[in-house]
Symmetry: C2
Subunit: 308 residues, 2 copies
């Protein structure tokens, strides 16, 4: 099954405890596709400016990602700059230059409209709706969002939520979206808005899955080296959705057990993203290295036997 | 095996999203002993003022805790007041009145000096050393501390660390104590200071255990009702150390597998503490209810099978 992602391809400036980089490849669709393509064929719809280096697109294409849906427009590529505190607890946005992304009007190539697995990365909810109108009978649709849309475009965002199966958000966004103070209440409230499944991304603390009456808690892989968390959430979603596409391809049923496995796939994939700037570390990931890391994660997991 | 805890018994004023209470029973030794006594006989050394209600001590004694080591001194009982933000992400100390606690000089009754399991709650490191000097050949010693001592009494604290087997700290304290930005590096650094085992308490995100070359990550029990996190860390330590005493009693070996089980015992016990103000909820916990909650925690744990 094919995965379609619609989002941003960007150039980022990032400062962290580990160093700083300028004009490195970033963007939600970039990170997502680098992750999902580990598991399933992936198609990407985005826009870049005429300053965009062909060699950067090659880094995505060489992974097997179909970048035919990346449009080139006159002007500069979307740019974002951010700085993280030494413990990666918060980040400060230094600048956001939308550039060609300001006029982004995602058009799905005909060959992309039949994708079974669709991910609407964090873009304007109206654009997310436009993508949904162009997609034909996807088996599963997920979206991401952010506080900017939660507060600025609540009606359009709610229209999106009525049409998606899974929402990926971080804990702060989940609380902001619902006005709740407790994550279990927030998840229940989000599920009442539409998505049957809610994934709360908690950074170094892992992620929580809400599906049916069930919660699954997956810890992040403990890492001694964290260089740059930029894109970790999109990488998580890419690993999750790519794994789902892979599992559907081999005949799996979309149920809670499959989603719980997808949480592990997303966790393992995201653990690579943070070990380098840009896509440097996720670029070096492959199924063998994910398998090794799975063993490390399992070794760190709490015992299940009753202790008394 | 018996557990000895030396720490505070206090009256707290607490304001949370769920309400506010005044002059309720609190203190590190209180929470710890309410938890450890679920698993093993527990002895408590603390001081209260002449304003202390006998009925409050009864709430601890009725649990089977030996409160013969609680001294009564002229003056008021230690008082602390705090306010939590609605999501329990931070707390503001409104006041700290040491009162009789300012002259606390812990004296171990003779019958307490043979305790096999010793917990030095968060008190002045010089007092923690004094307790260690009075204890005779404990099998295992753990301590807690806080930023106030890390910054204010580094030499005395380091003398304590050289003599304990386990340090319980939260993530912020672990980073402050070591100057590290990464938790794995911080834990390694703490272990070089003395404790062979380090437990990092992470609140709603659970806890991490470092023992040998091994990490164990235990998620917190997902809770729909959180009333007051005060004392959760001491309750966690109480469940952990009480379980260790129980396990040693039945002949278990002190190894990584036992510590990993103790992490689960601490997690389950702490999950009760936060569901009420003061000791209200932990007071209602018992082994049957812990067992039920263990099933809930296991149901929420990530699957271990390789997802692909």
């Amino acid at each position: 099954m094919k995965v379609l992602v619609v989002g941003s391809v960007a150039y980022d400036d990032v400062e962290t405890f580990a160093g700083s980089v300028r004009r490195v490849l970033g963007g939600s669709a970039t990170f997502f596709s680098m992750a999902s393509s580990l598991f399933a064929p992936t198609q990407i719809v985005a826009v870049v400016g005429d300053d965009f280096d062909a060699s950067d697109l090659d880094r995505i294409t060489v992974r097997g990602v179909d970048t035919g849906g990346v449009a080139r427009a006159p002007g500069a590529t979307f740019r974002w700059g951010g700085r993280y505190d030494p413990q990666f607890r918060s980040r400060e946005t230094l600048f956001t230059e939308l550039n060609v992304f300001a006029q982004f009007d995602p058009q799905l190539p005909v060959a992309y409209r039949e994708s079974a697995v669709v991910f609407l990365a964090n873009i304007h909810p109206t654009l997310q709706l436009s993508v949904l109108d162009q997609a034909r009978r996807p088996k599963i649709v997920a979206c991401d969002t952010m506080n900017f849309w939660i507060h600025g475009e609540p009606a359009a965002l709610k229209a999106v939520l009525r049409r998606v199966d899974i929402l990926f958000v971080n804990d702060e966004e989940a609380l902001a979206l619902t006005g709740e103070a407790n994550m279990l209440h927030a998840a229940r409230c989000i599920r009442a808005m539409g998505p049957a499944t809610v994934v709360i991304k908690r950074g170094e603390h892992g992620a929580w899955l809400f599906h049916g009456d069930h919660i699954t808690v997956v810890p992040a892989v403990p890492l001694a080296t964290v260089v740059d968390p930029t894109g970790a959430g999109d990488t998580f979603a890419g690993g999750f959705m790519g794994f789902i596409a892979h599992a559907l391809e081999r005949g799996s049923i979309l149920d809670g057990a499959l989603y719980a496995q997808a949480m592990v796939a997303g966790t393992l994939t995201a653990s690579f993203a943070v070990e380098g700037f840009s896509i440097d570390a996720i670029e070096a990931a492959n199924i063998d290295r994910l398998t090794e890391r799975h063993a490390r994660l399992c070794a760190a997991m709490a015992p299940r036997d009753l202790p008394w």
